[in-house]
Symmetry: C2
Subunit: 444 residues, 2 copies
């Protein structure tokens, strides 16, 4: 992309109505613009990051054998009356009445809708197990939306739903989700720790939240700090192998790690030596639930088992906050100059900066590099505007592009500058080697 | 994908509440399920097609230099009060009140929201021209939703907005949209004819609708049938070249082609010889508008021009019905057995059918072909269920997979069967040649 033809409204000033750094940086980097309280437009740069996160989430779910579909944003109230949640859900549910006075709502989650789909189409145990997921906009009418996309009202979420014949296979589904989530966060450069959590309005007995330690987090968490030393193994995995999944889950959940809602100090003292007891603020980026027959019972989602008996299916639901992750990654990865994107979610991998708009040789070399990076799939952003180099550098740093190529005076001796955003180091690289060097960093 | 692990709830019976063939076939092929009147869940097969269409639309817009972003589904009423459309829009607008009694609405279109973004960020003529687009769910509270996704209430639309300094450059943007739309439909195997149209609630002076001739269409159109003989040229184009775009637009719009709203019989008689005068039913799949300063005037979206004067920008908006296209393509391409997908939007390109689940050699060959097709990016759907071959063939035909490979008795002499959905022809192909043959058809 040529910056002269892009729409990237960056701001120098810190916006006044932003409380946390990710919100500030997203506004300053021209990633989002508020449309109404807790509702945002995703500007071109923001959308690129959002889509990269969405793609990683989708890929990891598909690897786990889960099937993508898409439910609508608007749901009929009748399904929620059937499950008993319509009155329970409270003011966070955005209730709507259409022109024919029928009650609708903007879905905050989709247990009812997916159960309705299941019960209409699946009748036999032979079709199990099945896990369906979608990535769709949700609405929760937060009393006090804040922190930008971290606690918005309209937000993008991946939610998945497993349908299993019994407790044992449902726990395998639960474990599959935990493993696929750990791999998902890992690909985004995040260390998200699964912690035993409260089940809230979703219900059920088993739940883990995934939390990123961060000072700006809204949750307080208690954990054995040995868990921080765990490394995530992203080698090939057989998701059909229940034991293999269970082993990975055990290796994480054997450590004490709980949110304040489930924290038990006596238990903490009993299990964790004092010097390893840690407490921190954290950001929730996902949650998984097993809730058995909580929805399949009232909504009569049954299958016929091998003996010809109708039994309600065992279900769970599993969510990742896709739009929230954009903010969470920034909370975990920024400095005083701006955002530092992990390569996997960077909106552009390489920034190209010319130090002069008048020097023909410099412009030609920038053009050549831009084309080569484009052809190599490196997603370059070429700042071809007639601006001071300092302003161009500041923009590239603010918006967090991992690699910057600067074409300037060195060109006379056949070199350009390569700067890595994460460590700020600049090295001179020959014109003939620069592309290989960039590819090497991108793939590392 | 292995069918045994997929979720594809096909139906033999014709559903009772469907009036047109695309709606019937989408329900029967397990592509959609109604959640509420005019609101649909996209089942896994349906979502695959929807995403392919979305990708083609996005690619063609990006080629034209238009920049993707994403606006939210929920908008504040205040912006619509500013433009004067809040009261005008009538009952089709889904009006919502949040927990703090603030007036919101589910966006039926986005002229106001994009103008608000523009006026906050763009101040100088130097930043022009710019065209932004997004693909987002919209809601129009139709009095009588019907025809499945063809006239739903919640629907996916691409809408784009151009901002230009004057009439002349705005017309170039209009033309760029017309050309990119023609190319978009062409890639989906559709012949959509641009017809002079009424501007309706969007407003403005210039508008063309894109219409597919089809008996089930809701529009009546009048046209010079010479236009049907035009072939779409999809060679490389320079979208920055205003003359080149104008020439293509002229070649289409020089023929009389109008919807009933703009039809003028006297003009028709004057311009088109009687034997070329045609009238037909048609389906609208897109519309483009130039409306000048209709929104930039009341909303004060101005730029400073070269002389330092504040002038309102010239705008247009341009929409493609993404979810509607799924139905429209089926209306244009089906037979008594089911859907016939054009290759570019087919949910799977190749179906693999084993005629026996017991024969080890047959199963092994299916497995080998499945892996090879998967590796070659041919998106195979392998029917590995223990079903009669006839039932498997019927499913592949119903869901419209372009190529079917059948592995059966011929295997003993080293051949498999290749069947093309579009013409029903079956040929025997040797095991060693089948992959090349499939690739040849896919790329043709």
């Amino acid at each position: 992309m040529r910056l002269s033809r892009y729409f990237l409204p960056v701001m120098k000033e810190v916006p006044t109505d932003t409380e946390i750094v990710s919100h500030q940086l997203m506004v300053r980097a021209g990633m989002i613009k508020q449309a109404a309280s807790g509702i945002y437009s995703w500007m071109p740069l923001g959308l690129r990051v959002l889509q990269k996160i969405q793609n990683i989430v989708t890929e990891e779910q598909e690897k786990a054998g889960h099937i993508p579909m898409l439910m609508p944003t608007i749901q009929p109230a009748s399904l929620w009356q059937e499950s008993g949640r319509y009155d329970d859900y409270g003011e966070e549910m955005l209730r709507i009445r259409d022109r024919h006075d029928r009650d609708l709502l903007y879905g905050p989650t989709n247990e009812e809708l997916i159960t309705d789909i299941f019960r209409q189409h699946i009748k036999s145990y032979k079709a199990l197990p099945v896990t369906l997921f979608h990535i769709q906009w949700k609405f929760r009418d937060e009393r006090r939306p804040r922190f930008g996309v971290m606690r918005g009202r309209e937000f993008l979420m991946k939610d998945g739903y497993n349908f299993d014949l019994d407790f044992e296979t449902a726990i395998h589904s639960y474990n599959r989700h935990m493993v696929s989530y750990l791999r998902t966060y890992n690909r985004m450069g995040l260390k998200a720790i699964p912690m035993r959590a409260d089940t809230g309005p979703i219900g059920g007995k088993y739940s883990h939240e995934f939390l990123l330690l961060a000072d700006t987090g809204e949750s307080t968490v208690f954990y054995d700090d040995a868990i921080l030393k765990m490394n995530f193994d992203d080698t090939k995995i057989d998701y059909d192998n229940a034991q293999e999944c269970q082993k990975i889950v055990d290796s994480w959940t054997n450590h004490y790690a709980r949110t304040d809602e489930t924290h038990d100090q006596a238990e903490f003292d009993r299990l964790v030596p004092n010097h390893r007891q840690a407490q921190s603020k954290a950001i929730e980026v996902g949650q998984i639930f097993y809730f058995g027959t909580k929805y399949s019972d009232p909504m009569k989602a049954t299958v016929v088992d091998e003996m010809g008996k109708h039994i309600p299916v065992h279900m769970g639901s599993h969510g990742i906050g896709v739009s929230r992750l954009v903010g969470a990654i920034i909370e975990a990865s920024h400095d005083s100059r701006g955002i530092i994107w992990p390569m996997s979610v960077a909106p552009f991998k390489v920034g190209i900066v010319s130090t002069s708009s008048d020097d023909k040789a410099i412009c030609q070399e920038c053009e050549r590099l831009y084309q080569e990076c484009e052809n190599a799939g490196l997603e370059p952003l070429y700042d071809d505007r007639n601006e001071r180099p300092g302003a161009k550098f500041a923009t590239m740093e603010l918006i967090g592009i991992p690699i910057r190529i600067t074409v300037g005076r060195g060109l006379k001796k056949g070199v350009v500058e390569l700067t890595e955003r994460a460590n700020g180091q600049t090295t001179e690289v020959s014109q003939s080697q620069i592309l290989n060097k960039v590819i090497e960093i991108v793939n590392s």
